[in-house]
Symmetry: C2
Subunit: 320 residues, 2 copies
């Protein structure tokens, strides 16, 4: 077992997070999907108000802050979806939010984050270390760091999806296939659905969670890691808090290629009439590519729909 | 009151249809939408298994057939979504379905209808009269005509959406804004939501329902009617069965332009992460263009998501 000195996320915490989330957000739809000859399920968290599941963890973290912490504001680091989750929650709670985002984040995510009232600070990826930028901001202006995945409340909040799924399905799913960046969702689902097999799916070359689980220790992204269209799924490494849960409870990681992700986006467009961004289609891509076994109690997480219009147009027109 | 000798659709029939639909299809999501400073609702019937609300009326019609009628099969006429609704229902009930479709129907709709096991007979639009083609087929091979909108069961089935909406909202909506072709949905909603204002929305130049309501009699499309991107909303005329209900209960019709429809498709893509075909975005287009008043109890029907990939790509990329 990997040791950390921090507060650890728990199954009880996931259940408490699910109650807090249910108080402000209706459950996202659990929709049937036919893949080959199997009728499984998709959990459409791309239909959350900010277009991604990240609203869950952000809400649980920010709503758990003490009054004096709320008054000091929050600082978050994000490629875009966590940013919107924190900005949405902060606006609703009257908390000042500063978000550190990469200079090359999708325009739609930058614009949405600003529209939600957050202060956005850009950093140069990969030259600058985003955690260092955030630490400097907190040293300067105070506030609480809301990490995108290595935070017990954030992990518990993301896991609230598992509680909704079990209620909608009427039983524990056999397995949950989850898009995976830093491992916040996969860890949360593992705690929230202890009877289910949880399969993290990462972009090819960016399987920092799968490799860390196999190695039993944190693994960092190679400087020459291949490009991926999954902008939401490229953390430089997972965190001990996530890895401890995942080694204990999750299935081995799976990777998907850009072409498999695009095929999943096209499938969701044509068969589910849903818009998925690349990172939000990774779990579906693994299911369609036969990389995870499917059965009628399998749930595939659709985690984000903040797609760049030009890139999405090219993908569904089949020109890339 | 317009007289017909046919069975007339009723509010009781809509409630019975809603029970039949609920037995096989979970309610489609009612999702919040912010338009200007108003938070209203969208009813996402584009998320039905066939990608449109048409599954409702087709299921109620086909499941109401007597055993000897089922054995003789059904014949339907449709530009694509009713076709899929009939084909889906027929397959599930073990009924032979023949669908008369225009030669220029979107490929996605032709392919989906065939994939559902229906026999497809093409006719040349506008040279051939589709109702005559259907009548000839029935004379030759027998079977029951399942009209796309001028049928009491079809009208009642489409109205089942109103029963779902009231249950999801916890009260009657103030108004329902509905995409309108022949007037099946608008008539069904009028019967299913008698306390709500129902606003039919039609493409510019193809407002055969709005004009008929104003004239008090059936009005036929002009031979030189302008082109519209709303392939699902171009009937040549409404039917007396629909007009009788609509004159009695619905609000005056509203029209939307192709540009307004495209803007609504882009809005749904970026803000709701939903895929809408042009005809399925007409009601949202009217709401966004300020052509119907909005309030927090307004529900906007999103009626279809079977979008042609190339056309959708061009629309969201903003190149047309």
């Amino acid at each position: 077992m990997i040791r950390t000195d921090e507060r650890r996320p728990t199954s009880e915490g996931v259940r408490a997070a699910a109650e807090a989330v249910a108080a402000i957000l209706p459950p996202t739809p659990l929709l049937p999907v036919e893949i080959g000859r199997v009728r499984a399920w998709v959990k459409a968290d791309n239909l959350q108000p900010i277009g991604s599941f990240k609203i869950r963890g952000a809400w649980w973290r920010l709503s758990s802050l003490a009054p004096e912490e709320r008054a000091a504001g929050v600082v978050a680091v994000s490629s875009g979806n966590h940013a919107q989750g924190v900005a949405w929650s902060a606006r609703r709670l009257g908390i000042r939010a500063t978000i550190v985002m990469p200079h090359d984040a999708p325009q739609v995510k930058l614009a949405n984050t600003k529209a939600l009232g957050a202060d956005v600070v850009l950093y140069q990826r990969p030259r600058e270390d985003r955690d260092a930028v955030a630490a400097r901001l907190i040293a300067e202006q105070g506030g609480t760091l809301v990490h995108a995945f290595g935070d017990p409340w954030v992990i518990e909040g993301q896991g609230s999806a598992a509680i909704e799924i079990a209620a909608q399905l009427g039983r524990s799913p056999s397995r949950i296939i989850a898009c995976c960046g830093g491992g916040g969702l996969a860890a949360g689902l593992s705690l929230g659905a202890p009877e289910s097999a949880v399969h993290p799916v990462e972009p090819f070359g960016w399987d920092m969670v799968g490799r860390a689980m196999a190695a039993g220790t944190i693994v960092h992204a190679a400087p020459d890691a291949p490009k991926t269209i999954c902008d939401a799924l490229q953390p430089t490494a997972t965190k001990p808090l996530n890895l401890a849960v995942l080694i204990d409870r999750a299935e081995a990681g799976v990777t998907v290629t850009d072409d498999e992700v695009r095929a999943a986006q096209r499938f969701a467009f044509a068969n589910l009439r849903l818009v998925l961004e690349p990172g939000g289609a990774a779990a579906l891509a693994a299911a369609l590519a036969g990389k995870v076994p499917l059965d009628p109690d399998t749930v595939i997480m659709l985690t984000g729909g903040n797609a760049d219009p030009a890139a999405f147009a090219a993908t569904i027109a089949g020109s890339d």
